[in-house]
Amino acid sequence: MISFTVNDHAVSVDAPGARRLLDVLREELGMTGTKEGCGEGECGACSVLIDGEVVNSCLVSVGQVEGCRVLTVEGLERNGKLAPLQHTFLERGAAQCGICTPGMLLSAHALLQRNPTPTYEEAQTAIAGNLCRCTGYTKIIEAILACPTRPS
């Protein structure tokens, strides 16, 4: 059994340690908010935070997160209320087809945790590992810069 926390909930999974964290989240834990876009660490759709750092969950084997804190898109809401970042994404039109949105939110969340008042270039750099084909990134960056408060 491999034990870790997902969105502050303790979980134990009976999975081979070499299995991808992405597959464990989606198929064992039923948390399908984390998406697979390429399976090779290029698109960032599967981004999650491990101990506060953004990673591609398709490149992490679940055995490596033993004892770690994993945050997925499902963990951003608090008591059924959207986090400020989710709210600005929604209001500013940062989500179009939405498939990159979970990963985008987590990269942005990681940035704002470290740096609550990023510049345009810092926001650009922070999401450079998350490909989006709908938005031209414009409204995503706007939403990050407009996020009013530091998350959590």
Binding site: G33, R92, I99, T135
Partner: protein, 691 residues
């Protein structure tokens, strides 16, 4: 107001095809050709493998017709004997888990008899489609012209690269039919295709789009094939089958934007007046017809650019090659043909020694002008508005400080017809329903899928306005083909203008009837083309589109003189949408579309070997990241169209048309080099710069 399904998307609760959990579903896989052209000699199933643990489907198992329903019945669902391209599907396998599926696939051996493939457009001899548009007397006008400029332009393949790969899940029904869940743009295309291949009745097939993670045309026709395959496996396995492509298979096998060549001869008078345009437009359709005739048609109609010219001849052909079939991609032939038209303005202006902006102002359409097909433009011609707005909003040129970097600026002016071409909308005869239920719920029923562009939001907004009820009170009914009428495909910049127009009409009628009737009230509307729109399919003359949208793009580029790398730093897009129904969504369409076009212009290149794509991974097919994206400024210049709902025209595709020629013009401005092709890769540019 935020998009309808936005909350689901920002919380991770939106369900895309691969997110749908179906107990007992098996995993499916497609075994494809490995040669670009030839014959299947044998398909051998290794007796060492226990085949009764899996399900295998070949062409022999197809209960109905072995064909992918589209324009021409040339593409089989599974190849039986003849191989026309390297990704041709031949065998389908389904298994309870992925490991067994892989093991089964490894025990199937297909032997081929290889034939010489036709891999390049210049070797192609088989025609898929041909169109001629003639206005005036081009030969005479070219003979009379004081200056004739001739140039040839080339455009490459482009992958749609929606971030969610293709996929479908088929659930068999007791009566031999299926329910399909999938990532798709056109539920009724898929419906018709699956019905034919399974040989069942319309009622036995139900298609339900899941949330769609991007499409851009890439999920217009290919999902029919994915759904057919999933359905064949599910019917034979008597259980649900998931057929979800990984990225590698998606890039390798699915359709791309058509590559092609555009040859122009333009005749002008000494005063710069535009006298004649002689244009040859050739597209590489790939191995099957797919949508090539209509892509070619839209490309040809737009090939002369938004300019009034008395003598125009456009000869367009789509040719077959032994490469994976090309298909729909945002713009649908127009980005290719307008690339040539816009660069031609640049070349003529260079020869004349006048600024290209001045030439555009002199030539561009104004109300009352006629297009190449003889269509008179009676209203909502936004050329001047967008040109002025783009130039006004372009920031002052900033010359880079580094000695190794050159700066350049380029401009383009483009147009794009809204809705299906010619009599297309008449033939489609789209149907929508708006109803008020017994308990007062307002419901809008169409087949328009939400793929990020905002269909749900726009249609709800149009209905709410016409019903004079709050937006929140309108429900958009999911696009389940057993529930919604066929309002046509979600393509061709037609959703807001054509389907939205019908929804507005139906909703108005519901409101009127509510004054005298008690719910339930249901109003069905079928599209009837206005009698003022005339189109001759034979001669390609008349009103090609009800109306055109217009856009002007100004780009700034920086070119590294050591490496030929091009960075597009700023992009201003001024666009005449008729009316922007939802400015944030409209801007989103523009920003996303122009970045796809910047990728098309600079770094997106499909590299081929032996009839297949070499760079069929996300690590090798390169699209722009946030750091590659220019600062994009969108200016929406409203210019209402009397035939659209609240004045709206279509804007989904036009953002794709303008940036590529503007980038190439800007590269010329920076370096003095004309590349005349996209993508303008550093490899090509550095070679051109040093010769």
């Amino acid at each position: 107001m935020p998009r309808r399904e936005g909350r689901l998307k920002v919380t991770g609760r939106a369900r895309y095809t691969d997110d749908l959990a179906l107990p007992d579903a098996w995993h499916g896989r497609t075994i494809r050709s490995t040669i670009p052209r030839g014959l299947i000699r044998t398909i051998a199933f290794d007796p060492a493998f226990t085949w009764d643990q899996v399900v295998v489907v070949t062409a022999a198992d197809i209960p109905g017709e072995n064909v992918v329903q589209l324009i021409r019945d040339d593409q089989p669902a599974l190849a039986e004997r003849e191989i026309r391209h390297r990704e041709e599907p031949i065998v389908l396998v389904a298994a309870p888990d992925r490991d067994l599926l892989e093991a089964a696939a490894e025990h199937i051996r297909i032997e081929f008899e290889r034939m010489d493939p036709v891999l390049h457009l210049h070797d192609a001899s088989e025609e898929l489609a041909r169109i001629a548009i003639v206005k005036g007397d081009v030969d005479k006008a070219l003979g009379d012209a004081e200056i004739v400029v001739e140039r040839t332009f080339r455009v490459g393949h482009q992958e749609q690269l929606y971030i969610e790969p293709q996929g479908a899940i088929a659930v068999p029904m007791d009566d031999g039919g299926v329910t399909i869940y999938g990532s798709l743009q056109c539920p009724y295309y898929v419906h018709k295709a699956v019905v034919r291949t399974l040989g069942v009745s319309d009622e036995q097939v139900v298609v339900i789009p899941a949330e769609v993670g991007g499409a851009f045309g890439g999920k217009e026709e290919y999902p029919s094939l994915v759904a057919i395959h999933a359905a064949l496996l599910a019917v034979k396995a008597s259980r649900p089958v998931r057929l979800i492509y990984d990225r590698h298979e998606d890039i390798a096998a699915t359709t791309k934007r058509h590559p092609g060549t555009i040859r122009h001869r333009t005749g002008v008078g000494g005063d710069g007046s535009l006298l004649a345009q002689d244009i040859e437009f050739v597209l590489d359709g790939g191995a099957y017809c797919t949508l090539s005739p209509v892509v070619l048609s839209r490309g040809a109609i737009h090939a002369a650019g938004p300019y009034a010219c008395p003598n125009v001849r456009i000869r367009a052909t789509a040719m077959a090659t032994n490469t994976p079939p090309n298909g729909a991609f945002r713009g649908f032939g127009a980005p290719q043909s307008e690339f040539g038209a816009e660069l031609m303005v640049e070349h003529v202006s260079e020869v004349l020694g006048v600024p290209s902006i001045d030439l555009r102002r002199k030539w561009m359409f104004r109300v009352g002008d006629t297009t190449a097909t003889g269509q008179q433009l009676n209203e909502s011609v936004g050329t001047e508005l967008v040109l002025d707005a783009a130039l006004k909003n372009a920031s002052p040129v900033v010359v880079p400080s580094s000695p190794s970097v050159l700066h350049g600026r380029g401009v383009s002016l483009v147009y794009h017809g809204s809705g299906f071409t010619g009599s297309g909308e008449k033939k489609l005869a789209s149907q929508v329903t708006v109803e008020c239920s017994r308990d007062g719920e307002f419901r809008v029923l169409t087949a328009q899928t939400e793929m990020g562009q905002g269909a749900n939001t726009i249609l709800a907004q149009i209905a709410a306005d016409a019903l004079e009820v709050p937006y929140e009170d309108v429900t958009i009914v999911p696009q389940d083909t057993s529930v919604v009428p066929n309002s046509g495909p979600t393509v061709a910049s037609r959703t807001a203008m054509v389907v939205g127009g019908l929804v507005a009409e139906a909703a108005r009628e519901v409101r009127e009837r509510m004054a005298t009737e008690q719910p339930p009230i249901r109003v069905d509307k079928t599209y009837v083309q206005p009698s003022t729109i005339r189109w001759d399919d034979e001669r390609y003359r008349g009103d090609a589109y009800p109306v055109f949208a217009y856009a002007c793009v100004v780009v700034d580029v920086e070119v590294d003189r050591d490496t030929g790398e091009v960075r597009v730093t700023n992009l201003v897009a001024a666009l005449d949408p008729g009316r922007a129904l939802h400015p944030i969504l409209a801007e989103g369409q523009v920003e996303g579309g122009v970045l796809q076009a910047v990728g098309y212009a600079t770094i997106e290149e499909m590299k081929m070997a032996d009839g297949g794509y070499v760079n069929d991974r996300l690590a090798t097919y390169i699209i722009p990241t946030a750091l590659d994206a220019p600062r994009i400024k969108t200016v929406l210049v409203e210019n209402p169209y009397s035939g659209g709902p609240f004045g709206a025209k279509g804007i989904g595709e036009i953002p794709m048309d303008g940036p590529a020629p503007a980038v190439v013009a800007a590269i010329h401005d920076a370096t003095g080099v004309w590349l005349d092709e996209v993508p303008a890769t550093p490899e090509k540019l550095l070679t051109a710069m040093s010769s």
